[in-house]
Subunit: 248 residues, 2 copies
């Protein structure tokens, strides 16, 4: 059996009672050390909360499906930051487990999609979301820009995940993302003077939300990761009033 | 102080450790009995999990802001089904609390936005979401239909919340929503032969997901509420494979 348990946003206290109960009842407990990282808790704190030893699983162990070999005869738990099914990796793993006839269970938890409600932006007004990827010598993806413009045309907000290179311990900052955005917008100028919302370390005691013009926030010191960027669409009166709290 | 604590999807075991800790530390604990209802737990079970007496708050008590009078001098907790900021009511309450100089705290929890990932549909491919409202003699809203078509044109999925009339204890079924959808589509025929995904009682032991043509699911018995409807956009190969598990 394979049990995917969501860890929520920040630390071991974000675990829910179901997640603790399920993890406790498993023979082996793995922590996904690749797609998700819990910034507010070490493995030891999670072990204490669950009352069980935890092994850190790397990318290959999960993506190759090696973890499933253990789940055929054991009750295997995989702890995943946020909600366990927000990343494609785990949806894929779940599907492969079922194809092998392995029973599966999912214990949901808070995802970033809930946390961004702290901005006061209404969830139903978000359009498609996108990821801002690190540019490389030969690969400079710009599709996230098109998503923003398409959403903006319809008055919708865009949630932008910022790239993570976990192997290198690199997390894109909001500053880098705003810089890329300005660069792509360039001569087109569709986002000239546009407002953005920067969400930092959501769900943590040092959570920070800033709202202002791209230009004004470009050099702001947002502190440690994770950062997330939102490009708002048309604002309702209440959304505007709420965002005013976060004006830089 | 006002502390909004999310209850998650189904029962008292969906509470997270932070939520329990915060509720325990409050002077008065209210349960939102209007915008959200926890189907899997009675007040008594929540009281046991929290170790505190709970009072049920009705619509007027929350929307009039009467609850804030207590939060000026007391530490007041409001328990809300799902995530506490997904409904506009609570965002508004939070804003009014801050305007009165009342300290606020938000403990997030799993929302339906995480739970629908069980369908295998990728979160980033959802467009704007909408609500299917009960039709009345003089008010027959159809804007949710336009949202579906706009999303579909861009290849995006549409999440449709189904109307709740909590005062009357009425919950729109997926069957009623599909019926309305067919009626509005009528001669236009943009959704003729379209597939839908029906999600029932998400996060509960009796959770049910069904995937199929609108026509085929129109008379299917989905059982007790809550139901939610998704009109998928363009499907990736993995999304298709995942949905195949739920074919009606």
């Amino acid at each position: 059996m394979l049990v995917l348990v969501g860890l929520g946003l920040w630390d071991e206290k974000d675990l829910n009672l179901k997640g603790i109960e399920e993890a406790k009842a498993c023979d082996i407990v793995y922590l996904d050390g690749y797609t998700s990282k819990l910034f507010g808790a070490h493995k030891e704190q999670l072990e204490k909360a669950i009352g069980k030893q935890i092994q850190v699983a790397d990318r290959t162990f999960i993506e190759s499906g090696e973890i499933l070999n253990y789940a055929v005869t054991n009750k295997v738990c995989l702890l995943v930051g946020g909600d366990p099914l927000i990343a494609t990796t785990h949806t894929d793993l779940l599907l492969r487990a079922r194809e092998k006839g392995i029973n599966t269970k999912i214990i949901h938890n808070t995802s970033i999609y809930s946390a961004i409600a702290d901005t006061g932006l209404q969830m139903y007004k978000f359009g498609k979301s996108a990821t801002v990827a690190f540019w490389q010598e030969n690969f400079k993806p710009t599709s996230f820009y098109d998503t923003i413009i398409e959403n903006k045309d319809r008055g919708l907000h865009t949630l932008l995940f910022l790239d993570i290179d976990a192997d290198q311990g690199k997390y894109m900052t909001a500053n880098e993302a705003i810089q890329l955005l300005s660069e792509i917008d360039g001569a087109k100028g569709l986002l000239r003077g546009a407002d953005v919302v920067v969400c930092c370390r959501m769900g943590s005691p040092s959570q920070l939300i800033k709202y202002g013009k791209m230009e004004a926030l470009k050099n702001f010191d947002f502190g440690l990761p994770l950062h997330i960027l939102i490009v708002p669409g048309r604002l309702h009166e209440m959304e505007e009033k709420f965002l005013a709290q976060f004006k830089a």
